[in-house]
Symmetry: C2
Amino acid sequence: MARQSTKDPDGLTGGRPLRRDAEQNLARVVSAARDVFAEHGYEASMEQIAVRADVGIGTLYRRFPAKADLFAAVVDAATERTRMIADEVLAEVAPPDAVFEFVRRCIAAPSCWRATTSRRPWNGGREERALASLLPVIGQVLTASQGAGTARDDIRPTDVVVLLMSVRAVADLCDADAPAASLRFLDLALDGIRPSQTPPTHSPVTARQLGRVLTTRQRPPRSG
Amino acid sequence: MARQSTKDPDGLTGGRPLRRDAEQNLARVVSAARDVFAEHGYEASMEQIAVRADVGIGTLYRRFPAKADLFAAVVDAATERTRMIADEVLAEVAPPDAVFEFVRRCIAAPSCWRATTSRRPWNGGREERALASLLPVIGQVLTASQGAGTARDDIRPTDVVVLLMSVRAVADLCDADAPAASLRFLDLALDGIRPSQTPPTHSPVTARQLGRVLTTRQRPPRSG
DNA sequence: GGCCAAGTGGAACGCGCGTTCCGGATATGG
DNA sequence: CCATATCCGGAACGCGCGTTCCACTTGGCC
């Protein structure tokens, strides 16, 4: 039952360098885990990940004592990616568009916030620290837009994170059946941040799509 | 493996009246299922429900051939409740506040949209029909506010449903640690619908709360 | 080339959960 | 009060999945 490991919190092997083949396998494992968790959330099985990485199950457990540790490594990578997106936005994007572009890029990054919004066992505050380390830079992005007058002053960095989670949740629930549902929702939600609105650029979800939205397994093929 | 039953889609026993004790048990089962699914989503176990209903597991399977059928019954009840809320809002609430009050009441209704946003197996289009039957009345509520000029004209009934799902998702993810997170998010999201905004009435999520938001099981007791 | 620590794969185990099954209990009509 | 159709409880089964374990392979150093 996914107890928290104390012996080697995926800091590899305590310092000694890995054998070359092991290093390659490790990279493949993390990459596969990123993709599989992004697709199926935390419920993805270790076997799926092993198959995708073309590796035995034992290999997974050599580097990561428990599933939670592997997931934590993926979340760490996602955190880093998010920080990078924020930095890019600060460097490239004009202040009026900063928050909006930041949110859009986070949603677009395939493995950034996808895995992050799925339920998972407690992992000792690791993500707590990761998220906390992200808030200042998100704050900078937000402040830029607030200074430019395109975002309200009563919004906080945590609101941006909650917004990201909500869009991700809508994407998880709807996008398989209603491909642009999350983008349209994003339009509306971002307008909740703006002092003045613009019309949404994505078309509404259809009723037919909506009916299929909440189911996941064992359904007949989509036909419209 | 939760196959779809064909023999008695929880239409009770094909018409013959139930024994009195059986009828009481059935009511307790549905009520317990509503509460437990609302708390834990579809992942709640049949045993949990049986215990809450103070009934044996066999009793569950007598009326509902599979877990999916029991869940479907709960969703049907939730659909009915939602329709009732919409009717009440149309009768009691002034048009300018209609959509907003509708969404707030749906979120506040403990067993209304809570279970509805959890992932579950496909159940033969049953919920597709249920949701479709709800859209017209939601449309009436929405049209009322649009006519009053408090909701944009480019919003559709399905947007309201997606909004409900997103708020529900935020509540599921955050509210255990940040009790008002979903209410604050609701404020912001509703402002995405309004032509002009009002400041949010709920305070932002704290960073400390946020770090705990995405985990579910086996965590240390909350301490702030 | 030969040694062996490091690494690997996958069978097997334990557990939780959905589901089945059936011996016993109970309501209800006569 | 009896007969019996109906209903109930919960043990048992099968399966999926996280995890463990160990016989076998391989890269790196002498």
